[in-house]
Structures are given as structure tokens and as C-alpha cells.
Symmetry: C2
DNA sequence: CAAATAATTAAACGATGAATTAATTTAGAT
DNA sequence: ATCTAAATTAATTCATCGTTTAATTATTTG
């Protein structure tokens, strides 16, 4: 009598729900974004996204059509809006290299703080070969930004305001490696070092100190 | 008459081959390693590995059993041997922080130069959530190494030989972000900066310069 | 209050993947 | 030469995935 009973309290029957939310589409977008970041765009199944959102896979088809268009919606309505402020902030930052690096570090820190899904998504879908967002990132999210930064660093180097032993282009790479990468790896090194307490402020201070003076004690020409 | 013909020159018929190589197992391991690094352990199909190696998927079953044991063989016979030298080198490096960071940077550079598959594999299978090699790396490949480095940095800091504004644990993270990460991202920034010419030597010099003095021009207490 | 429409589930289809089995061909031993 | 064991392919099985369709229920509208 588990199936025949009509009023056996089924978990959910078919049919239009009673006066529900209009923001289910947003809920689906969030579920998809979370799973894309945690499991990977290609690896995650529409079934899993639907299950996390508490609906059937057919709902994703109803709202978005297919997986490619679901991804497109996530890009347009979640990824690009999240990165737009960073881009604007970097574009009108000063030309002094120290101020510029600081603006970058703080900008990444801010974006990551308000969008925790960004670092893992960036690692899997931009850094990894064959990721689904590499072109999107450089063509639509932050087009020209790496080149802009490298040019400013090169100009500062020509003016004698940047460590002459650095490569202006590689400095952009180093900045990403000191900000986005530690954010993405946080679960790993938090566990490895038993360091749940290491918060964003400590990270910020550490990164700025490393960029500012390097590893050693400041004793070049220092008196005592 | 395409199927009935017995001597129709099929691309490859069944049966034991004529006096072939004994190192086919090694060839399969290499094919699997390459595909694991390029496409991902979970994402790559045994069909694709077999096709790249020029055999049928059943050969992988014959030599390794299943996908899990194929991965195990790749770990034991490729990954662990590749990382063993780095581990040894770091364990008996000096305690001076500058020398230690330099040993780390050069060690990673060496390993990456001789094993180009390592950076992408590390990103996808260690850095990414749910990667298949995270436990393996920290439990078997380099157990205790991050903690060892952090302790040495902390000791050096207590002795006044390390920039006091740094966090010894985060410095380990920063080192990885300045070495393995740029290596993994090389295809990206090579294209972004049109910089095919940027070789390992330039990267090494840049990284050591950044770690040694930071971004700014060295003008603390500098006379002229 | 009835008809149309919107939202949702259930079920099914075709494709693909991992794993296994059976058949086939050759190499080496006797 | 013959027999046995090794190496290899072809074919099969079961699970899962993306997608689509049909059925079902609620809401809106005339």
C-alpha cells in the first residue's frame, strides 16, 4: 500500500505549485553557479543541480533550454556583474607601481570576500586546460586588463619606480599567484596548517608585506 | 563485400602481435599520464587513453584492471618518483630564509622542466575541490614538507632573519603561488602577453627578484 | 464558473562510458 | 609439428547523462 494510496503524502506531485516564488529562476542560477564552482561545469550533471535546487531536471530545460544556455545565463547574470567593479577599479588606479599592486590585492580581496565561488570557478574553468570560461574571462569579463597592468608596470620601470630586475608582464602573473591562487587553495592550506584562524586581514597584510619588501629583513643600508 | 572479405586489409585484426615491445605497459602509463594532465582524471575516458595509445580499451583492462588501478600505477610509477627529489632537496636545505626560498624556487623550476605534465595535473587534481590527488600529494608525495618549511620560516623570523610582517605559513602558500601557479598558467599568459620568448630563466630571475626585494625600487637608506 | 495558460513532475529516448567476456591470433615450449 | 599460454580485438552489459515529451495541477482570465 505504498503506491496505491492517493493521500500517502508523496514528497511532491506534478502540477503547478500554489502561489510560489517568482525568484525560482534566480534560485536555479545560484544552485548552478555553486555546483559549477564546486564540481566543475562539465562534470556536474543537470540532475545534480536540479536535486540541489529541489526540482526536477526538466525545470532547467523549462527555464533555460539546455546546459549551454544555463551556463550562458550564469555568465551574464552572475560572473560578469561580479567582476565589473574590479575592472573599473583597476582601470582608474594610479600609475605608481606600489599603489597599483595594492589596488590589485585589495580589489581581489574584496571580490573574493563577496563572491566566494569565484576562486574555485576560476581555477577549474580558466586555469585548467579546456575550461569553459577562459575565453569568456579574457574576452568579456576583464578584456585588456592584464595588458593594461603590464604596460603601467613597464612605464613605471622606465621611470625608475619599479624594481628593475622584475619583468612587467610576469609581475601581473605574480600578483594573481599571490591573491587568487591563495584564495582558491584556502581549504588546502587551512587544513595543512591547522589554521582556521587565518583571516582575510592577515592574508592581506602578509601579501602586501611580501610585495613591499620581500622575504628578508630590511637591512640594506640600515644603520643598526 | 566489405565484411566478408578475409584478406581485405583491416586496419588491425585481433590476436597477439608479432614480436612487439615489452614496454607497451610503459607506453600506456605515459598515455594515461598525459591525458590525466591535459583533460583530467575523471573527465578522460578509457577509450580516449586507449585510442591515443593505439590500442583498444580492453588493453587497459588487461594490463591494469580498471581505472582506479590504472591511476594507482600512474601515481606509484610516475608521480611519486618525479616528486621524490624535490622532497629530499627541501629537507636538507639550509635554514636561512633567503636560501630556503631560493632552493624552493629552483627545485620547482627543475621538477617542472623535466616533468611538464606536473603543473596542469597539480592544478586539476590537487588544487581543485574533489581532485583525485590531493590526499596522495600530502600523505605520500610530500608529507610534512609544507609544515617543515613553515617551521623553518617561523624559526628564522624569531631569529630576526625573516621579514617580521610575513606569516610563516602563508609564505609557503606564496611560494607555491609564485612557482607552480605561473608554470600551470603559462599557456594563458604566454598568449595574453604574446610572450613565447619568456623562458624559464627569465621566470626564475623575476621570481627571485620579487622575493628578494619586493616591487619597489631599493631605496631604503640608499645614498644616491 | 469555464477555458486557457503557466509551472511542474514523471517517464522515456538516444548517446556515451566503464567494465567484462568471448573469440582470435601469435609466440614460445616440448 | 603441436600444444599451451600470452596478447589483442570485438562485442556485450549496465549505469548515467542530456534532452524531450506527455501528463498533471494550479493560476489567471474572460
Amino acid at each position: 500500500m505504498t503506491i496505491s494510496g492517493k493521500r500517502a503524502k508523496p514528497p511532491r506531485r506534478a502540477g503547478r505549485p500554489s502561489g510560489d516564488d517568482q525568484d525560482l529562476r534566480r534560485h536555479l542560477l545560484d544552485a548552478a553557479l555553486g555546483q559549477f564552482a564546486r564540481t566543475g561545469i562539465a562534470a556536474i550533471s543537470l540532475r545534480a543541480i536540479a536535486t540541489e535546487a529541489g526540482v526536477t531536471p526538466a525545470m532547467l530545460h523549462y527555464y533555460f533550454g539546455d546546459k549551454a544556455r544555463l551556463l550562458h545565463a550564469v555568465i551574464d547574470e552572475r560572473l560578469l556583474p561580479a567582476l565589473a567593479p574590479l575592472r573599473a577599479q583597476l582601470e582608474h588606479a594610479g600609475s605608481d607601481p606600489v599603489a597599483l599592486t595594492e589596488a590589485f590585492v585589495r580589489g581581489i580581496s574584496d571580490v573574493v570576500a563577496s563572491h566566494p565561488w569565484l576562486p574555485p570557478l576560476w581555477v577549474r574553468e580558466v586555469l585548467c586546460e579546456g575550461g569553459a570560461l577562459r575565453e569568456v574571462l579574457f574576452d568579456r569579463a576583464v578584456p585588456g586588463v592584464p595588458q593594461l597592468l603590464a604596460q603601467r608596470f613597464a612605464a613605471a620601470q622606465a621611470n625608475g619606480r619599479l624594481n628593475p630586475a622584475l619583468d612587467p608582464r610576469l609581475l601581473v602573473v605574480s600578483l594573481v599567484g599571490l591573491t587568487l591562487f591563495p584564495a582558491a587553495g584556502a581549504p588546502i592550506w587551512r587544513r595543512a596548517f591547522d589554521a582556521e584562524s587565518l583571516g582575510p586581514e592577515t592574508m592581506l597584510q602578509h601579501t602586501l608585506a611580501l610585495l613591499g619588501q620581500g622575504v628578508g629583513t630590511t637591512k640594506r643600508g640600515e644603520p643598526a
